[in-house]
């Protein structure tokens, strides 16, 4: 009996699951329905994209030449309108020779915002730095110090105004929001009622009605002979509006703190404010960072509404630049795309950052 060794047939190599081809097979051509969708979408892109590229790039006019733009109308974009008008769009009615001032002020403010996003800078002196930045910002914009020519606030406009309104209203609204949120969770019925009425009232009405109030009714509210700058009035309006929304977010965080912690703090003999400051708020605020960031994004977007009450921030400055200019008015859509890109850059960056923070917070929680 000759037993010869018969090896079993080799197993086939494992199917590749990594790499480009398997990815395409799994994600684009998994079955016939999937494949059909892919083919249809690619076909659609092939129909649309060349036309778009033609309009935006190959047929487009880049120099600030109104005749060339007029000739290319309908077939190509006129980016020349941006070359021509970008200063008015970015800086509004600010005096032309003085525009280096808002330029520096905005760069400074945006830089400060970016630094504040970095963990390494989260130190007590950050607050001092912000005070300095704000002082320099208002000094540069308003003038009247160090031999700078004074510039009235109604001449401020464009991007500096947008950034300033968003930043300041966030800074001012945040402490107010924490107070109101604590008030809404308070045991004292009168304080609770006041806070609930404030929050629900503000959240029930659109921002524009609050802005109308700030611009039409605020002057009536003030004692006679006292006038308040329209910028301040609008800032107060946005702040009060934003604080109501933020308060609800903070309340969400407060509700997530287990009651046992409050009881433990009571047992230790901590007072109400000590409990809130040392036990509750640090945890609650860390918990609501992602939704808070979303709220900051919407405040940034909402500043565009002040154009309705005649402040020339980015959106308003654009109408200012083009509405009165017959030559360039037809190319408003290109100008709109330009400021859309600016808004998008800011908001998208903030939303990416919020994702990063969210990850940091969840990393801190896992052990």
């Amino acid at each position: 009996m000759a037993d010869t060794f018969q090896p079993v047939a080799p197993r086939p190599a494992p199917v590749r699951t990594e790499g480009f081809v398997p990815w395409v097979r799994r994600n684009l051509f998994a079955d016939w329905k999937n494949g059909l969708t892919t083919v249809l979408l690619v076909a659609l892109a092939l129909v649309l994209l060349p036309g778009l590229a033609d309009w935006g790039l190959t047929q487009a006019v880049f120099p600030a030449n109104a005749e060339a733009c007029q000739a290319a109308r309908g077939s190509g974009a006129c980016w020349g309108v941006i070359t021509e008008k970008w200063r008015v769009i970015i800086f509004g009615r600010y005096p032309y020779e003085q525009q280096w001032r808002p330029e520096i002020a905005t760069v400074l403010m945006v830089a400060a915002l970016m630094l504040s996003c970095v963990r390494w800078f989260w130190k007590p002196w950050l607050a001092l730095m912000w005070l300095a930045v704000l002082a320099v910002f208002f000094g540069l914009m308003g003038g009247g110090v160090l031999g700078l020519e004074p510039v009235r606030t109604d001449l401020w406009g464009g991007l500096p105004l947008t950034v300033m309104l968003a930043t300041l209203s966030i800074f001012l609204a945040f402490p107010l929001a924490v107070l109101v949120a604590l008030g809404r969770r308070s045991n004292l019925p009168a304080i609770r009622t006041v806070c609930v009425v404030y929050i629900e009232l503000i959240r029930g009405v659109p921002l524009i009605s609050v802005l109308f109030m700030a611009s039409f009714m605020f002057p009536l509210f003030m004692p006679q002979g006292m006038t308040i700058d329209v910028l301040v009035r609008v800032l107060v309006g946005i702040t009060l509006f934003a604080a109501a929304y933020m308060a609800e977010i903070v309340r969400g965080g407060l509700q997530a703190i287990p009651k046992g912690q409050l009881e433990a703090a009571d047992t230790l003999g901590l007072s109400y404010w000590q409990t809130q400051r040392k036990i509750v708020l640090p945890q609650a605020l860390a918990m609501v960072v992602p939704s808070m960031m979303n709220n900051f994004i919407s405040i940034f977007k909402d500043t565009s509404l002040v154009t309705i009450v005649s402040l020339y921030e980015l959106t308003g400055a654009l109408s200012l630049a083009l509405n009165s200019d017959v030559e360039w008015r037809p190319f408003k859509i290109e100008a709109y795309l330009f400021i859309t890109a600016i808004y998008f850059t800011f908001c998208f960056a903030m939303s990416r950052y919020s994702l990063w923070v969210e990850k940091q917070v969840s990393v801190a929680k896992t052990r």
Partner: protein
């Protein structure tokens, strides 16, 4: 041994927590009352000095301005009150149509982010990020520009099957000419809804008693359609349609939506849908994968898994933020004032400029939105309670 007498409890002390609470509350109320009183006093004085009249009597006066589009009959000789009512109806119209459309689009995009096709996923992601990060006002302005400048003039309108026309003049589509038969058809459909509701209750009861899961959609849908058809036939089967026609300088007939309405509607729908898509995605993601696996281990089909296990749990997470998005859409419709759609804000603004009654006009705007918001949230809270988990 003498029994210890427990120390006498002070019924009241100025140093007790209750007393301090009372003091804080009184102080807070006084502060609020003081501020309100101060502002009211100033306002009254300012009004006297500037000769501004107050009161709501202006609502009865003739408005004197025309309104571009109205759902009810209106002409400039009618009162401010009527004009504002026209504005309220316009706001509600754009909000209701917008909420329906944005829900459909938002849910589709939200589900699309779970598609097995990478292109669909990418497209939905791009859509959400793009539309979420641009201010709604800017989007409305751009859509308005699109509807009044980019589109062809009416004589060269884009049209689909000679039924739908899109041009600078707006969007025109066919509509049935209203007849008595349509009222009957509506009644029939309403009866169908009743029958359908009764059927679903029976099916639910049968399911809970026997575990037999009957189809809950076919019969109600058939009942509604059948009821409408029966009513329509009973009412004499009116079959006249008003179809838009392309004339020399305009598109006439059918129902025509103005460019302003279209811009507000499309802008709000696209913007809000990007938020709703995120809400839907979050809701579906919140149901853990183990649930789906458990359901399939029980032998439920994919549809049953979705309907009986995943959706009921996802809905609980989805509904509260969805309500917020509906309210946001309604509130954002106030931006229509920027592109001249005659909503309540725009008409109140005109009224304010004509009569100078700032306080009253702004109060009207706030009241309209406040009541809409509170009404919607009451409705959604009721629905939310119905689908919420019954805890202990």
């Amino acid at each position: 041994m003498k029994e210890r007498v427990p120390p006498k409890k002070h019924a009241w002390s100025w140093r007790s927590r209750a007393a301090r609470g009372l003091v804080y509350q009184v102080l807070a109320l006084l502060a609020v009352a003081g501020v309100v009183g101060f502002l009211a006093h100033n306002t009254q004085q300012n009004m006297q000095v500037r000769g501004i009249q107050s009161g709501f009597d202006f609502l009865g006066q003739a408005a004197g301005f025309d309104i571009g589009e109205t759902m009810i009959a209106y002409d400039p000789s009618q009162s401010y009150g009527r004009a504002l009512w026209v504005g309220v109806l316009n706001t509600l119209r754009v909000a209701v149509v917008g909420i329906v459309l944005t829900t459909v689009l938002g849910v589709l995009v939200g589900i699309g982010r779970f598609s097995r096709n990478a292109l669909v996923r990418g497209l939905c992601y791009g859509y959400v990020e793009l539309f979420r990060n641009i201010p709604i006002l800017l989007q409305l302005l751009m859509w308005y520009l699109f509807f009044v400048e980019v589109l062809p003039p009416p004589q060269a309108a884009w049209n689909v099957a000679d039924l739908f026309y899109l041009s600078k003049g707006g969007f025109a589509f066919p509509s049935p000419v209203w007849g008595a038969g349509h009222a009957w058809a509506s009644l029939g459909a309403l009866a169908g809804v009743g029958v359908g509701w009764w059927w679903r209750r029976r099916a639910q009861a049968a399911f809970e008693a026997t575990g037999q899961d009957r189809n809950r959609w076919a019969v109600p849908v058939l009942a509604v359609l059948g009821g409408a058809l029966l009513g329509w036939a009973a009412g004499g089967a009116p079959s006249e349609w008003s179809v838009p026609e392309q004339l020399a300088f305009m598109v006439d007939g059918g129902i025509s939506a103005t460019p302003e309405f279209m811009a507000v509607l499309v802008g709000l729908v696209m913007y809000t849908a990007s938020f709703i898509a995120e809400v839907v995605r979050g809701g579906i993601q919140s149901v853990s994968h183990g649930q789906t696996e458990a359901a399939s281990a029980l032998g439920l089909s994919r549809r049953q898994q979705m309907r009986l296990v995943v959706l009921p749990q996802a809905l609980r997470v989805i509904i509260p933020p969805l309500t917020n998005q509906y309210l946001n859409l309604t509130k954002n419709s106030s931006l229509a004032v920027a592109i001249g759609y005659p909503d309540v804000v725009s008409i109140a603004n005109t009224t304010l400029n004509q009569t100078g009654r700032a306080v009253e006009c702004i109060a009207i705007i706030m009241l309209v939105y406040l009541s809409t918001s509170l009404g919607t949230s009451a409705l959604m809270n009721w629905y939310n309670k119905r689908v919420a988990i019954m805890e202990r």
